[in-house]
Symmetry: C2
Subunit: 196 residues, 2 copies
């Protein structure tokens, strides 16, 4: 039986992205963003939503660029910290023990400690009330060499991504099977085609 919770911004799972920018003074800044995800395959795009009051908001508009960094579970404390305070007031990279690396491709830093980073050029923005949704075109994905499998795919177990759910951080759990594969077992339920 289902109960109504009213209109709320809740899905499962959510990411705990780190969004990194250069601020109006050229200093690297980083914030946490759970509102976002992949937006298109070709060209590859990602969206992140940021409140207009955030220091990051002006930085994205100024540089037309940002990075989306996927932290490992080991970074949970740092990820939570950079969601608590503003880059107006503090050097969050330094306090959280994170390293800003200048992108060669866009005017944004990325976070060295994150196993997967996306360098993004601002493509479009949608004003949605409390948040502006920024859509970035992904110019490059960089991954730690230790997290790349023999088939050149990022290995989710090696990445050990940080996951956000109902106000708590979690690790990734048990693998259940491959996509575009485990569902094939249900094709037996499809009605038979007329083969005459």
């Amino acid at each position: 039986m289902k109960t109504s919770l009213g209109p709320k911004p809740i899905v499962f799972p959510m990411p705990a992205f780190l969004v990194a920018t250069y601020d109006e003074n050229g200093r690297p800044n980083v914030m946490t963003a759970a509102w976002g995800g992949i937006a298109s395959s070709d060209p590859p795009c990602v969206s992140v939503s940021v409140r207009p009051s955030r220091w990051t908001h002006g930085a994205i508009l100024k540089n037309k660029a940002f990075s989306v960094n996927c932290p490992s579970s080991a970074l949970a404390v740092a990820v939570d910290y950079v969601g608590l305070v503003s880059g107006r007031d503090f050097d969050k990279f330094k306090i959280a023990g994170l390293t800003a690396v200048r992108s060669d491709l866009v005017e944004a830093p990325y976070v060295a400690e994150c196993p997967v980073t996306l360098e993004c050029a601002l493509r479009s923005q949608v004003d949605l009330g409390a948040h502006t949704m920024f859509v970035g075109q992904i110019v490059d994905v960089k991954a730690d060499t230790r997290t790349i499998s023999l088939s050149a795919e990022p290995d989710p177990v090696a990445i050990d991504p940080l996951i956000f759910a109902s106000g708590a951080y979690h690790q990734l759990g048990q693998a259940l099977g491959r996509a575009f594969s485990i569902g094939l077992s249900l094709k037996k339920n499809e009605p038979q085609q007329d083969r005459t």
Copy 2:
């Protein structure tokens, strides 16, 4: 050390949403969408990206409505199946053993078996090449009563959400701490304010 993977649509984690609609014949249809996430808090909005060739694409445009359903890990096979075939050809709800419930609020069904469902009214769309990003305003969230904690929050362990990562499905893993809380331990690293 990081290696470049080129521009690719990859983040960690991704959701494995079920997007449900009524098609042009009024029949319920459902597809899998890993491209999406929360887009704003107020009004609460969610985005899902759908290829123009998909049967769901026309249904969203026709009814200006859809539901976003968050499946539990027990639904992995059904979730994968409804991403493999088209509602043009098959009654995917029936073949996958899923139940369509008519929303009282929007012209879309939701998936009874999913522990958390969002009923959405189409708010805006952004054409991004391979995919159209549909932003839906969340009119209501419905959750299984068994997954609601005493504090009226959805409990991620009870929900047991299905997670998508690098082409594989996973369960949620170990909890690591509360948001807006575990990061407070780093405030000791902040420079001292002048208190004179």
